[in-house]
Amino acid sequence: MLGLAADRLRADMNRLLSFLFHQGILDEQFLQLQQLQDETSPNFVSEVVNIYFHESEKLLRNLRSLLMDREFSDYNKMGIHLNQFMGSSSSIGAKRIRNVCLAFRAASDQNNRAGCLSALEVLEHEYCFLKNKLHELFQ
């Protein structure tokens, strides 16, 4: 009986994962993460993902406070945060988020504040979505 439940859980998990892959939310890098999970580190993926969430929330908050500042002009500083966010997102395979970051960076390169703001909103939205889905995954 236990086996059945585990199977069902796994089926759900696989279905969720395949949904995420299909939608382009996650990419092969996520598989790389899964490969790193083994007996010596059985919760590797969830640990990494949790750290990612922690970091990302900080970064997103920084980005927002930078952009909302009326005297905002330091695109460099924003670029640093953005690079961090992009780096960690691509390392865990969050493809959609990374793509939004790319657009964000393009807007930032052009010093286009409005573009950055809208990119940030999309980013926050995507991030929430991903967070929810991944939470589901780890339930």
């Binding site: 598989l31 490969q35 790193l36 083994d38 640093i80 780096g87 390392s91």
Partner: protein, 732 residues
């Protein structure tokens, strides 16, 4: 006159004085009052000019009509071309779109493969996986082709070792070989150790040609020959340094001649013939290519001007030959056209899409070379491509100190040395289920055994298994599993099933167990984890599957080992390995500020069997290098405090000058020398390989990395495959 009515007419007279002139003659009768005709009024107007003008007008109108017709044709052609371009674009986009969900399907299948499946399910899954891979390959081919055609393809220029590339390609082909064929590789001695070119594309071309050769050859051999040739007549002068201002015009007009030149030179590999053609065709050639010298040294730097330049261009010719079914003459011209196969029968019988050769030809020509073929039906075919490569003389590491024929000195550490100088490889045919036959040069065996050892150590470390007593078989089965059509392997192995324990009980294998023990030690100490180029990581999920197969493949090994004549020397080889292994475990430094990246990279390295030191910015990196001697540094580019480029510059300045003055200037104080510090000042500091980890992965930042002293770069996100390739390439 008769009618009594005036008439006018044009009459042309021929006059002697003025040529032919045309007059409008108007004649009217004159009547008397009574109505009698008494005479005529005769008027003549010279309308010659007008007539001429009229005729010219007609002609002009004709021309205009013709022009208009041409225009419409052209417009139509433009339309068609635009449509075609759009169609191609759409094809590329669609292929791209298809690729994502398809790789999703394949990824899911791979994940499925890691779950518990019964035999039937696993078989079905393997078919899925191989079909999916095939389709993916196909799509990649299509995309490649459209990229090359639309001119978007950008070529890389990286340093690589031709011998290694040839060896790897042959190895990969050998591992998946289902037929009884011998694979050979021969790299002439005058081919430089390292050249600069687009290694990925070259590998692609080689793989394509070799797999074609294998496909159409049922017995005999398939081989690759690499050798240096003098600059061929079709070469554009612009690519040569110190060209004597000869124009590109001449080379273009020479292009048609070139075809005949190279095709005739195909049949005669004699260089003299080659030269002779050059002179005949009055092709543009450098004056130093005397007909008398059959083989040039590969460096076209006989003239003084070239000798001083740090880079020269080397033309290397590569023959991929086989003893297969051959190609009929009438099929030769269409061979390289897209989607063309030799005949419909061929297409049906041998499968394939016909894209491969077209891609190869495009790629070769894009790189400035030529791809040609010569063949005899039922005898075999030879595909030849000539490409220019740059050779950077200044960076020629003197690691070819080993005599290539000196077998007894060889140890696995020296493999890079071997690879650098060894030009001959042979992969003997094997029966299904076993990788090596007992004959063949001992060098080959060492290479192959060496291969096993590597794949082993990776696998064992990759899955933190206890070092089981059958490491070799693991590696072997894995190698087979990965590269072959998994389905057929499964069948092959299942045919020959025997319990695992038979191995340890097999008689008279003292030397063998010594080997195994030796290997185990090798893996235990796990010094150099040179992993073979076979992509283990993507199939690591099938580890469970492999285990099952491993057990079954056991019995093949004893047969192999028995045949080895130098098994004794092998075991001594391995024991000497252990010693050297235990001394040098590579020290790797990771410089990265992003926590997630650190975690992921560290974990991957752990799985690959390395422990790494981690620092978070350039300053810490420099300090770390000051304190400890590292074998490899992975350097993130974007970091706070000090970025990777500057840190690399400082480290390189230390290597060049032997002191840390530059670093001190940048504000990094030299820590007090500890017992662990680097070599004393009398020996020059070792060149540490530094690999950049870039987030952009654009070509521009690659150049920046190289300009700042980095050896190579890896684009983020970091994957197993990239790390493995790095380690393989840069760890001795």
């Amino acid at each position: 006159m008769d009618k009594g009515l005036p008439a006018k007419r044009e009459i042309t007279f021929e006059t002697e004085l003025f040529g032919s002139k045309t007059f409008l003659i108007y004649v009217e009768p004159v009547f008397s009052k009574a109505g009698e005709t008494i005479g005529i009024n005769y008027m003549g107007i010279d309308i010659t000019d007008q007539v001429r003008k009229r005729e010219r007008m007609i002609k002009i109108r004709e021309e205009i009509a013709v022009q208009k017709a041409k225009e419409t044709e052209l417009n139509r052609t433009i339309h068609i071309t635009e449509e075609t371009m759009r169609a191609k674009q759409m094809l590329a986009t669609m292929s791209h779109e298809i690729r994502s969900p398809l790789s999703g399907v394949v990824s899911m299948a791979e994940i499925l493969a890691t779950t518990k499946l019964d035999r039937e399910q696993r078989q079905l899954l393997n078919v899925m996986l191989s079909s999916g891979d095939l389709v993916l390959q196909l799509i990649n081919d299509i995309l490649d082709l459209s990229k090359v055609e639309s001119g978007v393809m950008k070529l890389e220029a990286t340093k690589f070792r031709p011998r290694e590339v040839v060896k790897h390609v042959l190895q990969t082909a050998a591992a998946s070989l289902q037929k009884i064929l011998t694979l050979e590789g021969n790299v002439a001695d005058d081919v430089p150790i390292e050249v600069i070119g687009d290694v990925l594309r070259i590998r692609q071309i080689l793989t394509n040609l070799i797999s074609n050769a294998i496909k159409f050859t049922h017995e005999g051999k398939v081989g690759v020959k690499l050798y240096v040739v003098p600059e061929p007549p079709f070469a554009k002068e612009g690519s040569q340094h110190g060209s004597d201002g000869s124009t590109a015009n001449q080379t273009t007009t020479n292009v048609p001649k070139e075809e005949t030149c190279t095709s005739t030179s195909q049949t005669s590999s004699d260089q003299r013939g080659f030269h002779g053609k050059k002179h005949e065709g009055s092709c543009q050639n450098r004056s130093q290519s005397e007909p008398g010298t059959p083989v040039m040294n590969g460096k076209i730097d006989v003239t003084e001007e070239q000798a001083e330049l740090p880079e020269t261009t080397v033309w290397i010719r590569c023959d991929v030959y086989d003893t297969g079914i051959g190609i009929p003459e009438n099929a030769l011209p269409t061979l390289f056209k897209k989607y063309m196969q030799v005949s419909a029968d061929h297409a049906r019988k041998y499968g394939g899409t016909g894209l491969g050769l077209a891609i190869c030809k495009q790629l070769v020509e894009l790189m400035g070379g030529r791809l040609t073929v010569s063949s005899r039906v039922h005898c075999g075919s030879t595909f030849t491509f000539i490409l220019p490569y740059k050779v950077s003389l200044s960076c020629d590491h003197s690691d070819d100190s080993d005599d290539p024929d000196d077998l007894s000195d060889m140890d696995d550490h020296g493999d890079s040395d071997d690879d650098a100088t060894n030009g001959f490889f042979q992969f003997q045919p094997r029966t299904l289920g076993s990788l090596f036959s007992s004959n063949g040069s001992s060098r080959t065996q060492k290479l192959l055994a060496h291969n096993i050892g590597h794949v082993n150590s990776h696998k064992i470390n990759g899955f933190s298994e206890n070092y089981c007593s059958f490491p070799t078989s693991n590696g072997q089965a894995k190698e087979m599993d990965l590269v072959e059509d998994a389905c057929s392997v499964a069948e092959a192995l299942e045919i020959s099933s025997e319990p695992e324990c038979s191995f340890s009980h097999s008689p008279d294998h003292d030397s063998e167990s010594a080997i195994c023990r030796g290997r185990r030690h090798h893996n235990d100490v796990n010094g150099e984890n040179k992993v073979s180029s076979i992509d283990v990581s993507t199939y690591s999920e099938t580890s469970r599957e492999v285990d099952v197969k491993v057990k079954i493949s056991e019995p093949q090994l004893p047969a192999e080992r028995q045949g080895r004549s130098d098994s004794g020397s092998q075991s001594t080889l391995n024991t000497s390995q252990e010693v050297s292994n235990s001394i040098s475990k590579p020290k790797i430094l990771l410089v990265e500020d992003n926590k997630i990246n650190v975690l992921v990279t560290q974990s991957m390295m752990k799985q690959l069997g390395h422990t790494i030191d981690v620092v978070n910015n350039g300053v810490q990196a420099v300090r770390a290098v000051q304190c400890r001697s590292y074998d490899l540094v992975l350097m993130d580019v974007c970091m706070p405090v000090m970025d990777g480029l500057q840190a690399t510059r400082l480290i390189r300045s230390f290597e060049e000058t032997g002191n840390w003055d530059a670093a001190a200037k940048a504000g990094i104080e030299r820590p007090s020398p500890s017992s662990d510090s680097l070599q004393p000042d009398c020996t020059p500091p070792k060149h540490i390989p530094i690999i950049a980890m870039t987030a952009n992965a654009l070509s521009e930042s690659a150049e920046e990395c190289f300009a700042n002293g980095m050896d190579s770069f890896v684009s983020k996100p970091v994957t197993f495959q990239k790390l493995k390739e790095c380690l393989e390439q840069y760890l001795p």
